[in-house]
Amino acid sequence: MSGLAAASYLTSTGEAVQFWILAVVAVAGALGAVLMKKAVHSALCLAGTMIVLAVFYLANGAYFLGVVQIVVYTGAIMMLFLFVVMLVGVTAADSLKETIKGQRLLAGLCALGFGVLLTAGIANAALRDFDGLGQANAGGNVQGLAALLFTKYVFAFEITGALLITAAVGAMVLTHRERTGPAATQRELAERRVRGGKQLPPLPAPGVYARHNAVDIPGLLPDGTPSELTVNPTLRARGQIRDVSGEALAELAALEQRSEDWLERDKRRAGERTEEGAK
Amino acid sequence: MSFPLLTATAAVPALGAVATAAVPAERRAAAKWLALAVSLVTLVLAATQLVRFDPDAKGPFQLTESHAWIAAFGVRYDLGVDGISVVLIGLTALLIPFIVLAGWHDADPLETHSSRWRPTQGFFALILMVEAMVVIAFEATDVFLFYIFFEAMLIPMYFLIGGFGDRAGERGEAESATQRSYAAVKFLLYNLVGGLIMLAAVIGLYAVTADQLGSGTFSLTEIVQARAAGKLDFATTTERALFLGFFFAFAVKAPLWPLHTWLPNAMGEATAPVAVLITAVVDKVGTFAMLRFCLQLFPEASKWATPVILVLSLISILYGALLAVGQRDIKRLIAYASISHFGFIVLGVFAMTTQGQSGATLYMVNHGISTAALMLVAGFLISRRGSRLIADYGGVQKVAPVLAGTFLIGGLATLSLPGLAPFVSEFLVLVGTFSRYPVAGAVATVGIVLAALYVLVLYQRTMTGPVAEPVREMPDLRARELAVVAPLIALLLFLGVYPKPVTQLLDPAVAHTMSQVHESDPQPAVHVNDAHVNDVEAAK
């Protein structure tokens, strides 16, 4: 893809094919990121788009950036996003229903106009002649970048370093919670719990008799209704609770029936009843 | 280079203002004395200007100072005085000490205020700040420099009007406070609108000069010379538009009917010294600027607009006087009287005759002094009774004869009685107008009857008749107050009998202005070749 540098420059067919396929993927990913209901899904879609972009970088002779894109962006930043998503709660699936009046419409209009104008701009910029990165990458892309970065852009580079540090510190400061006052002692905690009327003993374990012991199966109360307490809240939130109370009761009934039959209890009892009746 | 007298005259009060404001809260008296001292030093400097000013010197401006300021836009720090501005600077510097002295107790803290209460310092500092700005506005020969201070004046004035009022009488403090802030905002808005329109015109002026001279300039002298040399030539419509832009701002400041309504509120709500500051000092900048900028920059447009302006000023004269008759509030009455007088000034400026213009300039001075006298005495009266309503007074003359006497003299000056200064200027304006526009002159003369009406009605209702109950215990003028009024009255008498010192300063400047607008006095119908005039010349 490098090498020949000339006016009205065309890419190799291979790249063309690659572009047309991957472009579709990228756009799809972008749309997905925008439209998915759940943050997790949008994050994943975005990651996809980014990987595609990384490929495009490589295709454009920006080998270093391509790699960085994958490692830093897709690898680090997107993961950071995922962490946060998890932290905030995967479950928070916000409805795509618009609350601000006319927001959708306006946004659509602006986006349309913007896109059209931008495309028009690029179109009438008449970018015909591409002189590829032949000479630029001659000494190797990374070396070339390094050369620029540590000569021409060295100050900017230093400053971005400072920026990163500041950002890191800032993030800490923001998320760090200063403890005011001494930590609550065991006793205080206990008292607080009692006063709050919370569950004092440990929570009941999930599972039913020896039949089920999976964490997602709530234990049953004496009357056979499932007890929410026994299942951990996350599962509850996700609605991943397998409620087996119904079949459990049914099986119980069947079991007793069988044992009754086996003991032939009811005949004898009936006989006794008749005798008493005779007397 | 020589000692920058003009800069000093403006800088002294400015620095004085800062110093006054910096006086610690509990040392109020010190602040007052400091302010007084500063104003007196300024007066000395202004007097020095008057002395060092040479009426017969060549060239429009003297004592000039010129430094590059904003080179990019050709804005220069150009100062210079002609006869007119030097006289007006003198007036300003003269009045400020009296204003300070008269306002000695106006900003004193009430019992309710804490000892940390600072506005006393602020009051005097603001007054000095206004003085500094007015002085430099009079001195500036660079349009942009003038514009800046013309506008900057509004800020201290705004606080003076809105922050300090009469000790509330019947109306509660809260009520009068709202009235004050209304007046202050009104003042600010009116003048800001005018100023903004002027700003547009200023920029337009720059654009035109930049377009025609290559490098844009704001320098009055340069523009005038360029026009004289034919290098600069406004298109008719352009000149008219620019002229209107300038004139609007000045007409608001002046104030000319129908842009006058801010003045009664402002003067009514502000304390008497501040009211004097408004009408006797700040408003003069407007009329002065008409004379210096409107006429000199846009002679043709001025002539074009003259008929309309004359009509407006005539309306101002009669309208102001009639409304003064209809007022129930002493200060508002004086305010409307001032509107009528400003009508006379504008009339004289645009009559385009020597008599008219020097009359108008002299009128600025005399009106300053006479209104100061009347308004300050009225202020003393009001401070005694705590009410501005004419109906609350009566028979004061019996209990406080000196106060009544000074009030009467101030009033007589306002109705321009011969022998007192305003008569000379008013008559000059009338003659100047009459000799070119007889009808206008005759109509304007009706103003003197109305003036007599409102002054005498005011005097009769407040001072004469049976003694009203509330004023029975009213004390007469105190030493401080007398020290304020007496010199002003002496000045009124002196200038009424011997105005020559002022007029001979004015004449060359007026002649110069007249030559700028290419106007000359109309010749008398009958040529008189008599010995009388000649031997007068011999006598002179």
Partner: protein, 646 residues
Amino acid sequence: MENLIGTLVLVPLLGAGVLLCGGRRLDRAGHWIGTFAAALSFVIGVVLFADMLGRSGEDRELAATVFSWVPVGGFRADVGFQLDQLSMTFVLLITGVGSLIHLYSVGYMAHDERRRRFFGYLNLFLAAMLLLVLADNYLLLYVGWEGVGLASYLLIGFWQHKPSAATAAKKAFLVNRVGDMGLSIAIMLMFTTFGTFAFGPVLENADKAGEGRLTAIGLLLLLAACGKSAQVPLQSWLGDAMEGPTPVSALIHAATMVTAGVYLITRSGAIFDGAPDAQTAVVTVGAVTLLFGAIVGCAKDDIKKALAGSTMSQIGYMVLAAGLGPIGYPFAIMHLVTHGFFKAGLFLGAGSVMHAMNDEVDMRRYGGLRRYMPITFVTFGLGYLAIIGFPGLSGFFSKDKIIEAAFAKGGTEGWILGGAALLGAAITAYYMTRVMLLTFFGEKRWQPAPSPEEPGAEPAAETRGEGRMPHPHESPKVMTIPMIVLAAGSVLAGGLFSLNDAFLTWLEPVTGHEEGHSPVTAVQVTTATLVVLFVGVALAWAQYGRRPVPVTAPPGSLPVRIARRDLLQDDINHIVLVRGGEHLTRSLVYVDHTLVDGVVNGTAAAVGGLSGRMRRLQNGFARSYAVSMFGGAAVLIAATLLMRAV
């Protein structure tokens, strides 16, 4: 000698300054200082007079330019004095009568605690009046003109605690201001016409200006004269001016100030000669006023008001004479001087009577006073004879001449004017006799002293006893002496003046004189005058002499009532000017508040409302702000593209 002219004005001015600024410590000596200043100026006047007599008729005029007052471009006003025979006459009259009245006031105002200020004002008046007659240009004359107006304002309103006095003072000043307006416009017109307004050049070149301009100037001057001399239509203030202390009425509103109009017209003779129409206007005004004043004089019961009416009509005579041109000028001035004597005498007499009667002014409550106050009676009587023109007394000569001159105007105009003058003489005789009879003859009709709030009651009444019966007594010497002197003047002056036309020859260089060819001989006129005179006296005697006079005025027929109301002058003024003015101002105040201010406030409100609506856009949602941002970006791109495209 020239320098003396200045001092003539300066002395009383200094007196006024000293008295007014002197403060209470001068209270004891104040009145004597004032009198001394007046007397001193009189002495100076006499000295100048002697000096003037020393020189021949033509070069008697003295001129002194003190300093250049307002020099602006072509406009030159100087403080310069000009003393010719005309001014001299006035100087002597003013300072002479003035000094006498100062003397009189010493007694009359003895009980007033503000006497010092009173004398200050009197001196101020003297200074202004002298300035008026000595000025050598119209602007300076205008200064004196307004100066006397101020003095009269201060003196009419001297008892300011009386609302009536304050109102009268204001009225006088305002009406005068209207006249002054005329004068100032006249001066402007002169300036535009001649380029100057000094007497010399203006009057010399008057003929060069067209008749139109001269007529305009003349009419404006006439307006001024009407204001100052209380001529129709600006006469209404004089009656009320009687609110002032009686010496003031004598000095200002009888002898001197009110005659300033006559002086103005005579001084500007050259202008009027060039403007016949203006002259016609003048004589008309004069004739109307002389009848008007006389009629009012007949109806008034207030002695001072009656005398005021008579003053009006006498000045009417003078104006009439002055309007006749050179035929009349000398006689106008002559009558002015004689009138100065006898009218001042009459007023002082009236003052003395009031003094004796606890400041009662209603003649119907007088009567039979001749026995109680003989000197007053005699002096007053002489003045009375003089004014009605009793043969041999001064009024006879002066008035007679005027009537002759009126006939001499010739044509129907002459007949009309002469007739009016004659009729006026008759009425004068009538009302003066009435005054005389009501005051000094008949039986006593005295009443207990009036309560002070009754109009015309003077504060001296408070100091003296309340409600006691008056016990008339002759006034002290200091008051009677001036009366005697003036009486002597009013007896002799006329005779002296007409002794081989002394006065005529004296004034001729200034005013000029020409013998009118009268259709009737002097003898006929004189006899006619005497006839109407006796008719008038007889009528009065018939009405008031024979039968007793009711103490309260009878309602009277409609014309009488109208005459009592000053021929409705005030009602007309009130309806036309006062009411109209009030409505005008009130409506204007409304307009200013609603319209002019309303427009502004309306705009402000509109802007406020608009921004209130705009405020809704700020819904606080970051995303909608983002939308606008994004839109802005789009617009920017569009803009750049457009710029590229073009």
